[in-house]
């Protein structure tokens, strides 16, 4: 194939020499003041590659720019807990469960991708959260999923639901992670915005906790896992089309495709690497790929890192440097390794058929420098990319309809006037898809693998055994109720926590910590922002009262179609610990003649 002469590479030197060259910052989702700030930070215009990195790292998804002023409360109001080994802010929090064991758990959304391509969207959602847990040093041991779909009888639900369920099952089953619970709720408000929230829990010994930071000048940066392809780089294509025009081979896919087998190898390989103590820092690849992994590793360490993009193994040789930096190809990890441990690291990767390549090293300085074809195309303070993104104080306004909605109490509903009408009402209630048996979903998930599942569907909480000798275990529940939260976001978030907490407590486990996924509409709508702020306040307050800190979570905004947002849907996961899983309490009545008590009023 003959390609037209390429325009010059947009190197740092080139950018310095061409300050006036127009750049597609707006198309990449940056606001004018954000672009101006980038120019100030760098003292020149950014190169194309730098612009790509900033735009993706400063996006809502990666920077939490609309939400972080509210999320702060989870840290500020956090009740003291001796169990917290690693707090909020890392990939995932780590909780001490005794006997030298620690667990890490987190819930994350993959809502929009699951609407576009249900199977792959849901599958890669599971893949992403599992890598997050792995990157903390933990062996992933179970997953859960919280799902919201539109009306059960809507034709598009028929497209989305089976794909999502098959995707979660297909990926989780292939990784060998038992699915120990979740929820499935139908409501027309999710028609164009289904919610796919996946939770993963991992287990480790205290001494195995690993953090994402690159320290130690001369240490090597190793990229391992899948080759990098053109997945999920819609944004970078804007830059690519600017520089390459019609020389592009084909449209870049915005859909990421998962390879659970590759991920399974990545897990086993990474755990073996941890066992031999071969890494000083590790980071999974999530959204924003290499941009994110390198800038976060460098920023959390001493700051300096040099990376050679030519060494990144590619699946598609036509990728531009911007695209390589932004690619969201799945099943990749990045590790920082002392030079004398590199050989052993690579040998373990070879054992597991995992491709591993040294792509750079930690340097003395405090700049992240990236080279391509021998030329410098990125030279930035990594913290400015990874952590100093914009913070917005978006306007909030309690929606005008809130009072009316709250006034519309069940008292206004007509009561069934006859026994027959009562019967029909009851039938309608139990016949609703939300109440129905979910085994047609849960039977597609492996709940037995690993042989430690003590409770799973149809129980209200999942429970797994951690230590076979002592019987130490953990219980987990994942709950949310968008209808309650719409009625009153403050109380609704608290109710989600309370439900989850009760479910865990009822198994006999002691609730210890919380993770949450906050699914809301557009932050640009003051009514949505109000819902969001109220839900955060409610959850933080309730966590304080119950003594269970939030250890991590995820925010998903822009879940709306046109002007109509989904019901505000905070989904809350509670983790509890039980010293001996033999003593768990299942939901079913087991013994004839048992007495039944009602607690509470």
């Amino acid at each position: 194939m003959s390609t037209p002469a390429k325009p010059p590479l947009d190197t740092v030197a080139h950018a310095t020499g061409t300050p006036e060259q127009p750049q597609p910052w707006a198309e990449l989702g940056l606001k004018e003041d954000e672009y101006t700030r980038i120019r100030e930070i760098l003292g020149r215009r950014p190169t194309g590659a730098e612009l790509a990195m900033y735009s993706v790292m400063w996006s809502e998804h990666c920077s939490y720019k609309s939400s972080k002023v509210h999320l702060k409360q989870f840290g500020e109001k956090a009740p003291h807990s001796d169990a917290m080994l690693v707090g909020i802010g890392e990939n995932a929090g780590v909780v001490d469960i005794g006997e030298g064991w620690a667990v890490t758990f987190k819930v994350e959304s993959h809502n929009h991708p699951s609407y576009v391509e249900p199977y792959q969207g849901a599958a890669t959602g599971v893949g992403g959260i599992v890598r997050d847990i792995l990157a903390m040093g933990a062996r992933p041991v179970a997953v859960m999923d919280s799902l919201r779909f539109g009306a059960a009888d809507h034709p598009d639900t028929k497209r989305v639901l089976p794909g999502v369920v098959a995707g979660i099952g297909g990926y989780g089953n292939c990784l060998g992670l038992p699915n120990i619970g979740g929820e499935t709720v139908f409501d027309p408000c999710y028609q164009g915005n289904p919610l796919v929230n996946a939770l993963c829990i991992g287990v480790m010994r205290h001494e195995d906790i690993h953090l994402a930071k690159a320290a130690g000048s001369g240490n090597k940066v190793i990229l391992y896992g899948a080759r990098t392809g053109g997945d999920g780089i819609g944004g970078a294509s804007i830059l690519a089309s600017e520089t390459f025009d019609d020389a592009k081979p084909s449209k870049r896919p915005s859909v990421q495709v998962g390879d659970p087998f590759q991920e399974k190898l990545l897990i086993e390989c990474t755990l073996e690497i941890f066992r031999e103590n071969l890494v000083t820092g590790i980071q999974d690849f999530g959204a924003a790929g290499l941009s994110c992994a390198t800038s976060e590793l460098a920023s959390n360490g001493s700051g300096g890192m040099r990376v050679d993009l030519d060494d990144v193994p590619l699946r598609d040789s036509t990728l531009t440097p911007e695209e390589i930096l932004m690619s969201e190809s799945q099943e990749r990890m990045c590790a920082v390794v002392e030079p004398d441990k590199v050989d052993r690291f690579l040998a373990i990767c070879e054992k597991w058929d995992v491709i591993a390549t040294v792509i750079g090293e930690v340097t003395d300085g405090d700049r992240l420098e990236i080279y391509y074809h021998g030329e410098q195309i990125v030279d930035v303070p990594p913290r400015s990319v990874a952590h100093d993104g914009p913070t917005l104080n978006r306007p909030l306004a309690r929606p005008g309809w809130q009072d009316e909605l709250q006034a519309d109490t069940p008292d206004r509903l007509e009561r069934p006037a006859s026994a027959e009408l009562t019967r029909l009402t009851l039938l309608q209630l139990v016949g609703s898809p939300d109440q129905g048996d979910k085994s047609w979903i849960t039977d597609q998930y492996d709940r037995y693998v690993l042989g430690n599942t003590v409770l799973a569907s149809p129980e209200d909480s999942g429970m797994i055994r951690i230590d076979e000798a002592s019987g130490l275990g953990v219980a987990l529940s994942l709950d949310g109720n968008g209808r309650y939260a719409k009625l009153d976001p403050y109380t609704g978030a608290q109710l989600a926590l309370a439900e989850s907490y009760r479910n865990v407590a009822a198994t006999g486990a002691k609730p210890l910590a919380v993770t949450d996924c906050l699914n809301f509409g557009s932050p640009e709508d003051p009514a949505v922002m109000w819902q969001f702020s109220e839900a955060c306040r409610g959850l933080a307050d309730a966590c304080q009262v119950l003594g269970t800190p939030v250890t991590g979570g995820n925010v998903s905004l822009y879940n709306q179609t046109g002007d109509t947002a989904i019901n505000p849907t905070p989904v809350v996961g509670v983790l509890g610990v039980i010293d001996d899983v033999e003593r768990r309490t299942p939901v079913a009545f087991r013994t004839e003649g048992s007495l039944v008590y009602l607690l509470g009023d």
């Binding site: 089953n173 039977d443 597609q444 998930y445 690993l450």
Partner: protein, 226 residues
Amino acid sequence: MTARVGVVTFPGSLDDGDARRAVRLAGGEPVALWHRDTDLHQVDAVVLPGGFSYGDYLRCGAIARFSPIMENIIAGAREGMPVLGICNGFQILCESHLLPGALTRNDHLHFVCRDQKLRIENAGTAWTSDYEAGQEITVPLKNGEGGYVADERTLDELEAEGRVVARYLELNPNGSRRDIAGISNAAGNVVGLMPHPEHAVEPLTGPTTEGLGFFTSILKRLVTAR
């Protein structure tokens, strides 16, 4: 004096740990075998565990069948070494032609995980002698491609020779011909089974402990053979 039972780990094996646990709970010594090795480490029997070896890409078991370790396992099996293939292991045994037929996509096209009732049809194999013929047991079943198929002649032959080891009861979960859940080779040392007895060995984590019999059967046989 106990017996050494090897459990092979292929890339993508998932139930290898569970199979080793089952061997241990039955009183045996589990030995982890690695797919790239050729050495069987003097094991007396081998379990090919469940999972998605090589991602189940191409066909379930098709790539694993060519792993270096399979060469000695196939040779050993032909000489009478007991081999149990569970789920993915069953698929590997069919792909290796140690067992006839093949496992195809479930007729309903979904992955299915359920507590499955079975009848042990043949209590004379190396792996089922601790059961009574006709005994009904419940163990977990979980697969996406568990539909057993073979041509009519082969199916008739399996029936006539008593080589149907276990049959599904009450519900055929995957469209298997003649409700077949497991079969053996003519000598009875090689058994392939779709359901997972290794997940039914502890009251805490399994629906029953009725899967343990597969592992106690082989241990008794190996220990008495000494």
